[in-house]
């Protein structure tokens, strides 16, 4: 769906994005992660056709970005990190403007507005003035405006920045809903926990370059070299003995003790893992749970050796 090759963007002397080649398949929810100044916003703006690259190529849904900006904007939606709104308009007038300017057929404008208002939970604010909305509502209004033309690709730049916890939860739910509708999403953030919940793939950027990218499970498997497992004990005292037991086994590596929790990577077959499970429960009293850990963007990031992201 989205592919770039050798993508480069220089701002004066500073290479904001340098030689970035990546691929995001259709239907993915891709987390774009990196510290402030890593080049996430520049990359998203180039993907959205809002910034001309210094070099390299971009294709979104087989459309060459730069050659056909209007065709691109028919299928791409972009929510910037900072924006302003027409505060004098009502929510409905605001959406009506963007619907008509965005090529929505006149007969479908009202229907589309109702649909996006429902989706973003802003139906009750239909006749409110935009200037009177809270920050979270403004963020949702911009997402609603972006969804008016039903984009196949949605690019969200730091969407949760400045939102309160409740608004963040609402936003997370909204992103999950959009993903469920089949929209390809690229969501950037420098806060990993924001993305952990819904991302299926990740692109990690640092100083303008992509340091790692791909599906999260594949990356985890590649980085960890097996299946990540977590054992939770009743008491922390038993963790050391369990670790000793695990160290003696050839198919276990990367043992890490955190209180009453022991994390390790199992490099053997899944049948062997089932056997290990039985043995540990039998040999060690107080095993509360034994499960294959769901790894997140944070794990990938940490496994990549990057620790300068909050």
């Amino acid at each position: 769906m989205i592919s770039t090759s050798g993508l480069t963007k220089f701002y004066d002397t500073h290479p904001a994005v340098h030689d970035v080649s990546l691929f995001v398949p259709a239907g993915e929810t891709c987390a774009l992660v990196g510290p402030n100044g890593a080049g996430k916003t520049t990359l998203l703006k180039m993907l959205a056709g809002l910034l001309r690259p210094s070099g390299g190529k971009i294709e979104v849904a087989d459309i060459e970005v730069g050659a056909f900006p209007k065709r691109l904007h028919r299928i791409v939606g972009y929510v910037p990190d900072t924006f302003g709104l027409y505060d004098e308009l009502t929510v409905r007038q605001f959406l009506e403007y963007f619907a008509r300017a965005g090529g929505v057929a006149a007969a479908s404008v009202s229907k589309r507005i109702d649909a996006v208002l429902d989706l973003t939970n802003l139906g009750s604010k239909r006749d409110a003035r935009v200037g009177a909305l809270s920050r979270g509502m403004r963020q949702r209004l911009v997402i609603a405006k972006t969804l008016l033309h039903a984009p196949k690709v949605l690019l969200l730049d730091e969407p949760a920045s400045g939102l309160d916890p409740h608004a963040r939860m609402e936003l997370r739910d909204l992103i999950k809903q959009l993903a469920a509708l089949g929209t390809t999403l690229v969501v950037s953030s420098h806060i990993l926990t924001e993305l952990a919940d819904f991302s299926t793939s990740v692109v990690i950027m640092e100083r303008g370059r992509v340091v790692r990218s791909g599906r999260i499970d594949a990356l985890v498997s590649e980085l960890a070299g097996g299946i990540p497992v977590r054992v939770v004990l009743l008491e922390a005292g038993g963790a050391a003995r369990l670790a000793e037991d695990l160290e003696a086994r050839a198919e276990v590596k990367g043992i890490k003790i955190t209180g009453a929790t022991v994390d390790f990577t199992h490099t053997g077959a899944r049948e062997a893992l089932a056997g290990l499970h039985r043995e540990l429960v039998t040999a060690h009293a107080g095993v509360v749970s034994f499960y294959e850990r769901q790894l997140t963007v944070e794990d990938v990031f940490l496994a990549s050796g990057r620790r300068d992201v909050s």
Partner: protein
């Protein structure tokens, strides 16, 4: 089903209307306008009462006469005051609002959404154009009927009213388009929003006020009276004197005599149309839509055609042709310099491109470079074509026959010198753009203007010598030197006032008498000095040497810059 304005109106225009003139604000503005109108009318009516000496108290129709005079004075004063307000609205408020339109989007943070809309650049600019002027139009539409009624009551010449209001509308729209262009140009794809972008609005408003004050004289003149006189000058006394004074109000376009107000209106419409086209182009650039150079070519072509039309041919009581040729060359040169300044490859741009592709020849493959080079060539070609056309128009005898062109002694040296100057200008501007000037190529334009101005001043100090290299470096002074004393270029046709006896004498001899203003009958060349071939050659040598130096320095600087950037990209 209720009528929805959104179904028919341009979305951008509707948004502009809803933003600047929501219903409550419209009602308030309407109420305020009516109240001010009523208060103003009351004041004017009371001040319009005739003085006692204007009427005969013993006149039987005294009361009616007083009333009629008061109504007339009220109408004339009201018309004048309302016209000033209308000019304020359409020449200042509308353009100022247009000057803020795109800048405001950038400052408000909504520009990024407009960059992604699927509205065509034309519809975007069109909507902003009318939306920006909404408030001014709203008030103007309320005042216009009152102003026309006042003109009728004040018995103001209807031709004059029609001309002035035509100026109001055409000029107002043109200035608004200029404001729109300035706003769009300052909110382009660059992230560097011009500091003080909000100043654009007030600056455009000041330009509007200056235009209104400076040009209204061309619309208030008595063209009808002048036309009657011009139809038969022999029927009037003081023909020569009158003819000279009419030159101010009757201009020429490709030789045809046209009222000045028509030319001014045409120029305003031309400038407005191109300013709007420029705004559309800026929106395209802003939305990263690929643009070709053809629009720029057409702009240069039409602008040169208009300029040539205005400076075309020799006319009675007009300036010497060489003066008009210098005006043309100066403007054409400035246009090429501006083009070179705007499209020069700055150090930052070179760094960006060479960072992406280190092949030095890759630059030549970039469409931007190709388009800029082609546009510079077209501009230079159009400038030279205009020069040749003007030259031809000046080398016609007073009776309309083609005269000797002085091809090798004057025309070709001047054209070659001008072409070399254009080449030197482009090379010099590019040379300067590769230094660390913050304003890039514009620094080259400013420095170049300084160099030529210095050369001109230095040359002028040698008043006894016409061939100093400093003087010849400037193509304008070179052209003046080469044509000095030439009958066709350095002389003027003065009108002659013929007495009745002289007219009879012409008739008796079977000579044509085209009225009392006659063209000169002696057109023997009036050389004060012969052209020196060595002078023309020396001037060309100076120009060629300067152009060569500029090109060499530009190429060396380009190579040096590349080495510096590849060794230390952050430098």
């Amino acid at each position: 089903m209720a009528w929805n304005p959104a179904d028919v109106l341009n979305p951008e225009l509707l948004r502009g209307l809803r933003t600047t003139l929501p219903r409550r604000r419209a009602l308030f503005v309407a109420g305020l306008t009516l109240a001010l109108l009523a208060a103003g009318a009351w004041v004017v009516w009371n001040n319009s009462e005739p003085r006692w000496y204007d009427v005969y108290v013993n006149d039987p129709g005294h009361a009616e006469r007083v009333y009629a005079l008061q109504v007339r004075s009220f109408g004339a004063t009201g018309y004048g005051a309302l016209t000033v307000v209308l000019f304020g609205l359409l020449f200042m408020l509308g353009p100022a609002m247009a000057g803020l339109s795109f800048v405001q989007e950038r400052l408000r943070g909504t520009a990024i959404f407009q960059q992604m809309t699927l509205l065509s650049p034309f519809r975007m600019a069109w909507g902003k154009f009318w939306g920006a002027g909404a408030l001014a139009y709203f008030v103007a539409l309320m005042l216009l009927p009152c102003a026309l009624a006042a003109a009728w009551l004040g018995e103001v010449d209807p031709h004059r009213v029609a001309r002035l209001y035509l100026f109001l509308i055409v000029g107002g729209f043109a200035l608004q388009a200029v404001g729109l262009y300035a706003s769009a140009a300052l909110s382009g794809p660059s992230e560097r929003v011009m500091r003080g972008g909000l100043l654009v609005g007030p600056l455009v408003a000041v330009a509007g006020a200056v235009a209104a004050v400076g040009l209204n004289q061309f619309f208030n003149a008595d063209y009808e009276g002048m036309a009657v006189w011009l139809a038969d000058p022999s029927a009037h006394d003081y023909g020569g004197y009158q003819y000279r004074s009419y030159q101010f109000f009757w201009w020429h376009f490709f030789g045809a005599r046209v009222p000045a107000y028509v030319v001014v209106l045409g120029l305003l419409a031309f400038a407005g149309a191109w300013a709007f086209a420029g705004a559309v182009r800026r929106v395209k650039v802003w939305q990263l839509i690929p643009t070709g150079p053809r629009a720029a070519w057409l702009f240069y072509l039409t602008s040169a055609a208009v300029l040539v039309g205005l400076l075309w041919g020799r006319h009675v009581d007009d300036t010497e042709p060489v003066a008009r040729l210098l005006v043309y060359m100066g403007l054409a040169w400035a246009a090429v310099a501006v083009l070179a300044g705007g499209s020069a490859l700055t150090r930052d741009r070179l760094r960006e491109w060479w960072s992406a592709d280190r092949d030095p020849l890759a630059l030549l493959q970039r469409s931007e470079i190709k388009a800029s080079a082609a546009t510079l060539l077209v501009a230079a070609g159009v400038s030279l074509a205009g020069l040749f056309a003007l030259w031809a128009s000046y080398h016609v005898t007073p009776r309309g026959a083609w005269a000797e062109w002085r091809l090798f002694s004057q025309l070709l040296p001047i054209a070659a010198c001008f072409a070399l100057t254009l080449v030197a200008t482009v090379a010099f501007v590019q040379f300067c753009a590769m230094f660390r000037f913050r304003i890039g190529g514009w620094a080259g334009v400013a420095l170049l203007a300084g160099v030529y101005a210095f050369a001109g001043v230095a040359g002028a100090l040698f008043t006894e010598r016409h061939d100093s290299p400093a003087l010849l470096l400037n193509p304008l002074s070179y052209a003046a030197v080469v044509t000095r004393g030439d009958y066709y270029m350095d002389s003027s046709y003065d009108s002659q006032y013929l007495t009745d006896d002289q007219v009879e004498w012409h008739r008796a001899g079977g000579r044509p008498v085209p009225g009392r203003v006659l063209l000169p009958t002696d057109y023997k060349p009036n050389w004060r000095e012969r052209l020196s071939p060595s002078l023309a050659g020396r001037g060309l040598g100076v120009e060629a040497a300067f152009a060569f130096l500029c090109i060499v320095f530009a190429v060396l600087k380009l190579k040096r810059t590349r080495l510096e950037l590849l060794e230390a990209p952050d430098a």
